[in-house]
Symmetry: C2
Subunit: 458 residues, 2 copies
């Protein structure tokens, strides 16, 4: 797909240069809005406005929604008031709100001025809900039916009002704005008789969300129930909007990206990689790097504390990286597994004892296998092949015992910290590799020097 | 949701014990299939079959699809042939295939015997496609229309055949099985005139996938275009099936989980955490732990090679963990960012020079800030507060120079390896924290000892 869009941008640039507007338009109208947006993202500023103006009205609005905020802002600034109004008239309310949220104040003012009064009212209402809540994310353009309508009435109503609705396939049955039930277009079409009452075929056990429900929870519910849309109700049970599956897909993707970024010790970013400047990347990465560097002071202090022992047995130093890395890897495995399970709703805090017991048994197996393998490797590689005389059997034993204990401690820390974080209301993803590694480093070094001092009579 | 399901299981168990079957049934019919499945996952084996038999036929089949494979197997084994046939008759082909793929051979035999001949044929056809391909994942139950039909004919056809279709909302227009176009139910309902020909209103520029397209690519396309369904065609352009948005959501979630598992050094697992035994967890975790432990031999060898230098300046050892961890963290930040961008299709191999140049500039800023902060920290904490006389200004300089270089190398390795892996046809996610950490450890130690030997005249 990307390959195609890329060469297309070049073709369009050539066609623009030779003023072949009809050809461009003929090609554009065959394309899907998100593919047009991809091409527009590639061209120069002055070509952008030219190409955009070649799009038919409805396709222009749909393409506009798919574009990057920077380009949207650029286009709006270049629009005449009439052009802006034309785009606004074709937008769904939720898309208009998304755009408004990304624009600077002066652009927002122009957008709201260009919107018709009804839309302006709805945009302002949605803007009042907190970011990432269902209320801020919903659209107010749904099909509502009354319970006393017949199937025939309902189909007539859909035909009359459906063109501007985000989805017509799930219709909501309300009375005095109270959500009573829902009926799908499939139910309407498959109904035996056009005179059947909506109240007789509607599904009354409706799963809905509150305006304040977090968008991630809404997305998980849509995915769990395989719904096309979820209704959003206010505290009085009155229907105020709907959220559709396509928005849920985007949220699920963004949420996974965010978790991965946090797990790798970064603050999450909204920008795609190629749109991020080095300064953007720097800002999102430096805080954790600094924090973790400073917290490594403790590991340094532990090593300094055992400086004399290390000077006597320098060979012990050679195994520090292996012990720290294996500990860190073991801990990350547990923490990432738990963080993902928490985020998918597969685990709750009450499962903690079961989780710890699972991890302890896993760690026992992994620790045993690693210790034996490590003993073999040290004896074979370090002692026999490399012929290092200071690698004695006792040294190998110290290393392998430390390894087994470190794996155990790492797995317990790795599974416990994310669950505790969640319980305390923090994001569990913070408790991933970088954090666990730093914690496990200190523990593994303490264990190492303690066992070494005891067994090697230092 | 979980809370509710959990207490419900207890309620059902009590109601079962007092044989209040009507009450149970009254409650069950109000519930959504995936919530019923959650309750059934909680109860005992003998109660499971009892509760399942209380469900009305259609709800039973929908619930069956949402249950864990182990419980499905258990239920099938307890079914009479008639019961199995009843469930099979209500299943969509793609769901039946999913179940068949999870069952042992003897259960599969019974399932295929219970399916009607048409469904058996379709199941067998789908089973022939490779796992994770669009062909293996599609359903054959779509609405097809002919171009010469009128809107009225089309609506009649949907009303007659729609009940067994996975979705009726996107209908595909075919002639001799060739895919010519598509028309949505919205288009049909909003058409001005029932006599309009389908060929006049159908969208002819249809985006479709091939039977061999990877399921992840299909899911990304559904998400990108906000489609309800994508048509699957064979090499001759003949329509063979469709893939719907709800399956795409599941794939996007699974794919993100899989990437996270691989990035944390685990082989991906299909089971949820609470259904995994310690043995499952062990199997998925030990290979990478062993591999990375053995590869740490190199770091050990580097330290052994500089043993004399370390014995002379034991203070250098105290900074090894900090250098290794900061290098590892810097590298993971870059690699995870790049891996995610690759997986979302935001980056291609041709962007490599741009990516490296981005990372070099980011690393220059991060390295400079970290080096200055580290110098300050060493001077203040290690020298002044802790009063360690062996921490000289020269030692601090050696550490900080190493830190800056390590960050630079780590970021370049971290962004390059995933892109190379992708180019060579491997999964880029393998090139995440554990792998990068091991690679960066060796580099940072070599730089450290090289600079130390040069500046400290060891």
């Amino acid at each position: 797909m990307n390959e195609t869009s890329f060469s297309l941008a070049g073709t369009f640039q050539e066609l623009l240069a030779s003023k072949k507007y009809t050809t461009i338009r003929d090609v554009l109208v065959t394309m899907n809005p998100s593919d047009v947006a991809a091409v527009l993202n590639e061209v120069e500023e002055k070509e952008l406005a030219l190409l955009f103006r070649l799009l038919p009205k409805e396709q222009a609005a749909e393409t506009f929604v798919e574009m990057d905020p920077e380009l949207q802002e650029l286009l709006i600034k270049g629009f005449s008031d009439t052009e802006l109004k034309e785009v606004m008239d074709e937008l769904y309310v939720d898309d208009a709100v998304d755009i408004v949220e990304e624009m600077p104040a002066n652009v927002v003012k122009r957008i709201l001025k260009a919107a018709d009064p009804q839309m302006r009212k709805e945009i302002n209402e949605i803007l009042r809900y907190p970011e990432n809540s269902a209320g801020a994310w919903m659209t107010t353009e749904y099909v509502s039916l009354r319970p006393e309508m017949t199937v025939g009435d309902a189909i007539t109503r859909i035909r009359r009002t459906g063109v501007d609705k985000e989805t017509i396939y799930t219709c909501y049955v309300t009375k005095d704005r109270l959500l009573l039930g829902l009926v799908s277009v499939k139910d309407l079409l498959l109904a035996q008789d056009d005179d059947t009452l909506i109240s007789d075929i509607m599904e009354t056990n409706v799963i809905s969300v509150d305006t304040m429900t977090d968008q991630e929870e809404v997305a998980h519910m849509l995915s769990k129930y395989n719904f096309l849309a979820l209704p959003v109700v206010d505290t009085g049970g009155r229907l105020v909007g709907i959220i559709t599956f396509d928005d849920a897909m985007d949220v699920l993707q963004e949420e996974a990206t965010e978790d991965m970024e946090i797990m790798a010790g970064m603050t999450p970013s909204d920008k795609t990689y190629l749109r991020s400047t080095p300064w953007d990347l720097f800002k999102h990465r430096i805080p954790w790097l600094l924090l973790l560097m400073v917290s490594a002071t403790f590991t340094g202090m532990i090593i300094s504390g055992f400086e004399d022992a290390l000077a006597a047995q320098v060979v012990l130093t050679a195994f520090i990286p292996m012990l720290m890395d294996t500990g860190g890897n073991s801990g990350s495995q547990s923490s990432v597994t738990i963080i993902r399970a928490l985020s998918l709703g597969e685990l709750e805090f009450k499962d903690l004892p079961k989780v710890i017991w699972n991890e302890v048994r896993t760690a026992a197996m992994a620790g045993a296998v690693l210790a034996v393998a490590c003993f073999g490797k040290i004896m074979l590689v370090d002692r026999l092949i490399m012929g290092n005389p200071s690698v004695t059997v006792m040294v190998a034993l110290v290393v392998c015992m430390t390894l087994a204990i470190t794996v155990l401690v790492a797995k317990v820390i790795g599974c416990t910290l994310p669950m505790l974080a969640k319980r305390l209301g923090f994001d569990p993803a913070v408790m991933a590799s970088p954090f666990i590694t730093t914690a496990v480093d200190a523990v593994s070094l303490l264990v190492y020097f303690f066992i070494a001092t005891a067994l090697l009579q230092m």
